[in-house]
């Protein structure tokens, strides 16, 4: 029984692995800048690959810039805490869904293929609002 469960789990994680494929890469960072993944805290070095669920965290002198595989680009300002809650993307069809949550700080966005792939396929959540991105360049700011 136990054997069967672990086989099922093993299979499930194997099947799930494409979902954990790279969704973005850090292009630059300065100051205190990290990617939080579960309980791990990774320095946001250029080339670091992001997974869905990762959180972008900067201190008062920190910045992170990154590009996603659908060509969305992010610039994260100081004192920020931003989570990529949901990201799924079909590279062949250039469509998907993308939900980012800005808990605090500032986020500059140039949207990519996902925002164009469907109405409100890309969303940004702040503590008091939910935005639907319809293909554009913008900044969201959430003061502490």
């Amino acid at each position: 029984m136990l054997g069967r469960i672990s086989t099922v789990l093993g299979l499930a994680s194997l099947l799930a692995s494409p979902a954990w494929a790279e969704i973005a890469r850090v292009k630059s960072s300065v100051g205190a800048a990290a990617i939080e993944r579960g309980t791990a805290r990774l320095p946001a070095r250029p080339g670091l690959q992001l997974n869905p669920g990762d959180r972008l965290v900067t201190g008062k002198d920190g910045r992170i810039s990154l590009s996603f595989i659908d060509n969305t680009r992010f610039s994260v300002g100081p004192n920020s805490r931003i989570a990529v809650n949901e990201f799924s993307y079909d590279r062949t069809r250039q469509s998907g869904t993308f939900v980012t949550q800005v808990d605090r700080g500032s986020l500059g966005v140039v949207s990519g293929h996902i925002a164009k792939s469907g109405k409100d396929a890309m969303k940004v959540r702040t503590p008091n609002s939910l935005l639907g991105v319809r293909g554009t360049r913008f900044i969201v700011e959430v003061p502490k």
């Binding site: 790279e22 890469r25 850090v26 292009k27 630059s28 070095r45 250029p46 080339g47 670091l48 910045r63 810039s65 990154l66 590009s67 595989i69 060509n71 680009r73 992010f74 610039s75 300002g77 590279r91 062949t92 069809r93 250039q94 800005v102 500032s106 500059g108 140039v110 949207s111 925002a115 409100d120 969303k123 702040t126 503590p127 008091n128 609002s129 939910l130 935005l131 639907g132 991105v133 319809r134 293909g135 554009t136 360049r137 913008f138 900044i139 969201v140 700011e141 959430v142 003061p143």
Partner: protein, 194 residues
């Protein structure tokens, strides 16, 4: 007399607490898109911010925009830290081979130079087909082509770990044609340096 400063301080405090704001900017190409406000404080809202260079305070039931005026230093810093837009290159191959055409060989050198310029670079290699055959078959064919070219590029000095192969099939024709039309310009591989 004493009440005014207190009221002002309170307003400032409340203003600070009021929270999120949206600055909608023109696109790099000059046009601009829009951002819809779908919810405020958990309640559905039906508003669309579509005025470029506008500021909108979020969290109200009826979000209103005003002209952005001059950008603040923080905003300028945020925009200038944005990664450069990706660059796209088109490669053509001698029919039925993985040999680059003479015209495409210098493009390969440009690609390598662009990769070297970009920190944290990644490279998307996308195969495109013409409209001959079934769409599904062309998805598979264009992906195989892209994978093949990833192999080729890795032998000429591009780090394999940077590259991803994608097949777009006949979705993005360089030269629009009817179905089942052979076209060498549509059978191509594009290399996006991001």
């Amino acid at each position: 007399m004493i009440k005014w400063p207190i009221a002002a301080a309170l307003a400032l405090l409340l203003g600070g607490c009021a929270g999120s704001s949206l600055l909608l900017l023109p696109d790099e190409a000059g046009g601009h898109g829009a951002v819809a406000v779908l919810e405020s404080n958990g309640k559905p809202v039906d508003a669309v911010v579509s005025q470029a260079d506008s500021r909108t305070r979020l969290g109200t039931t009826n979000p209103t925009s005003r002209p952005a005026g001059q950008l603040k230093p923080d905003e300028i810093a945020l925009l200038s830290a944005m990664p450069a837009p990706p660059r796209n290159y088109v490669l053509y191959f001698i029919e039925g081979t993985t040999d680059l055409t003479a015209e495409s060989r210098p493009v390969l050198e440009e690609i390598k130079a662009e990769i070297a310029r970009r920190p944290g670079v990644d490279v998307e290699v996308t195969g495109h087909s013409d409209t001959v055959g079934k769409a599904d078959d062309n998805d598979a064919l264009s992906l195989r082509r892209a994978e093949q070219i990833v192999g080729v590029l890795s032998t000429v000095g591009i780090d394999r770990s940077l590259m991803t192969a994608v097949g777009r099939g006949e979705r993005e024709l360089r030269v629009p044609t009817m179905d089942n039309v052979e076209n060498p310009l549509n059978r191509r591989v594009e290399v996006l340096v991001r």
